[in-house]
């Protein structure tokens, strides 16, 4: 069995998963942050 080729693709998969997960996390956090900021602004407008 050609283990090198299998492990090569495993390595590529890990390499792709890493940044994909980090980008997903980053987008999720930025979206949540934007939502919370929008909610705070709404509250401030309502209080005024």
């Amino acid at each position: 069995m050609d283990w090198d080729s299998i492990l090569f693709w495993v390595m590529i998969a890990i390499w792709v998963i890493m940044p994909a997960f980090i980008v997903y996390e980053e987008i999720r956090e930025r979206r949540a942050l934007a939502e919370s900021e929008a909610a705070t602004e709404e509250l401030e407008v309502a209080n005024e």
Binding site: M1, D2, W3, D4, S5, I6, L7, F8, W9, V10, M11, I12, I14, W15, I17, M18, P19, I22, V23, E25, E26, E29, R30, A32, L33, S36, A39, T40, L43
Partner: protein, 402 residues
């Protein structure tokens, strides 16, 4: 049937040579520098500690492999009845090293468990030694202001290389040492195995740093970065916290040095130069954006890809440039650094405001906060100290750090 097709697809057309060889090389260096740059981001990006001594921590990992693991392997293999050449004196340690490693490698080809256990042992020891060296370099330096701290750490990086060059029993002095191949039992190219392990460790360290930065301890770190006087005035042990951050990050950084040693199967102090293991990670951090793991990743990916292509394709590039291509890397380092600081001082992905997962901002603003200080724990020693780090990693919340 499906298994056969999948196996056929996986094994088709890829042999580790040519372009694939370059990809494995880039992946390996990407994994190594991700570990170093994320640890640097943890120290500088989030806690404001300008660690210009990353090379010290990386070199400790390399020295762990050459001075401890190699000795341990030689001792164990000798005890197993394998005939080795003398290696106890400095002279024998260096000049009999290639022959001894060749003998040990033959024995290791039938001992996969031994090889894996030596890898785990090395990672554990380098983690501990890295933390100890972090504590040692913190002793004189941590109370200094940023600029002086940077100068002291730069000199320590050079000092560690000088130790390695002149003390033969550490890493064979200027000649270096061959390292037993712990993946000799693997029938193919062991560098792919090393690249996978390195990428996995990079991923794990990302999760560890992410957990810590999203915890009360992470918020405390950012508070120290913004204004350490204020944090100190509310009773936090700023020096202790900074020392612990340096120790923790040093331990993680040292792992990359060990992985590099196993990747090359060779340790020489010249592999752990200050420019490579301090300035390049700094460029990655500044290019991507400090205080931001995604930025660190992006910076790493860009810089590593460009660097490895320059190194591997230098014969082609030489025809394009009018100056020796050997200088191109250093020119790139300087030009990129100046360009980023001039045009994008916050990096490609600037740091975002702090988002605390699970906190309901609407509820926080709507309801009147009632704080009962009588039940609050003592300010000092709650979130500072090693126990604070482990408590954070264990997922336990603490109130004083908020």
């Amino acid at each position: 049937m499906i298994q056969e097709i999948a196996l056929g697809l996986l094994t088709s057309g890829v042999a580790v040579g040519g372009a694939s060889r370059l990809i494995v090389d880039i992946a390996m260096y990407f994994g190594l520098f991700v570990i170093v740059a994320m640890a640097l981001n943890f120290q500088y990006g989030n806690a404001g500690i300008p660690n210009m001594g990353c090379a010290v921590q990386v070199i400790i990992g390399g020295f762990t492999v050459s001075a401890i693991t190699t000795r341990l392997i030689l001792t164990l293999v000798g005890n197993a009845g394998v005939e080795l050449l003398p290696w106890t004196s400095d002279y024998d340690w260096v000049y009999n090293n290639p022959s001894n490693v060749a003998i040990v490698n033959t024995w290791l080809s039938g001992e996969p468990l031994f090889g894996i256990s030596m890898l785990l042992f090395t990672l554990a020891v380098s983690l501990v030694l890295g933390a100890i060296i972090g504590w040692i370099i913190a002793l004189p330096a941590i109370r200094l202001r940023a600029t002086y701290l940077m100068i002291v750490l730069i000199t320590m990086a050079d000092a560690s290389q000088i130790f390695g060059r002149n003390i033969v029993w550490i890493s064979g002095g200027t000649l270096g040492l061959f390292i037993p191949d712990i993946f000799k039992w693997y029938p193919g190219d062991r560098t792919i195995v090393m690249a996978i392990i390195t990428l996995l460790i990079g991923l794990i360290s990302f999760f560890i740093f992410r957990t810590m930065l999203n915890s009360p301890y992470g918020r405390l770190m950012r508070a120290i970065r913004e204004n350490e006087v204020t944090v100190g005035s509310v009773g936090k042990n700023v020096v202790g916290i900074r020392r612990n951050i340096l120790m923790f990050a040093s331990g993680i950084t040292a792992i990359s040095g060990s992985l590099l040693a196993f990747y090359f199967s060779y340790v020489v102090e010249a592999n752990y130069q200050r420019a490579l293991w301090t300035y390049w990670p700094w460029l990655m951090l500044i290019l991507g954006g400090p205080g931001n793991n995604a930025g660190t990743f992006l910076g790493c990916a860009l810089v590593i890809a460009v660097r490895r292509v320059i190194i591997v394709e230098k014969w082609f590039l030489q025809e394009v440039f009018f100056f020796p291509v050997a200088y191109f890397e250093q020119i790139l380092l300087g030009v990129l650094l100046i360009a980023v600081i001039m045009f994008r001082p916050n990096g490609l992905i600037p740091e975002k405001l702090l988002y605390i997962p699970g906190v309901n901002y609407r509820k926080l603003v709507d309801e009147e906060a009632i704080v009962d200080w009588r039940g609050a724990p003592k300010a000092r020693g709650v979130s500072s100290g090693i126990s604070g780090i482990f408590r954070t990693l264990g997922g336990k919340k603490e109130e004083a750090g908020d």
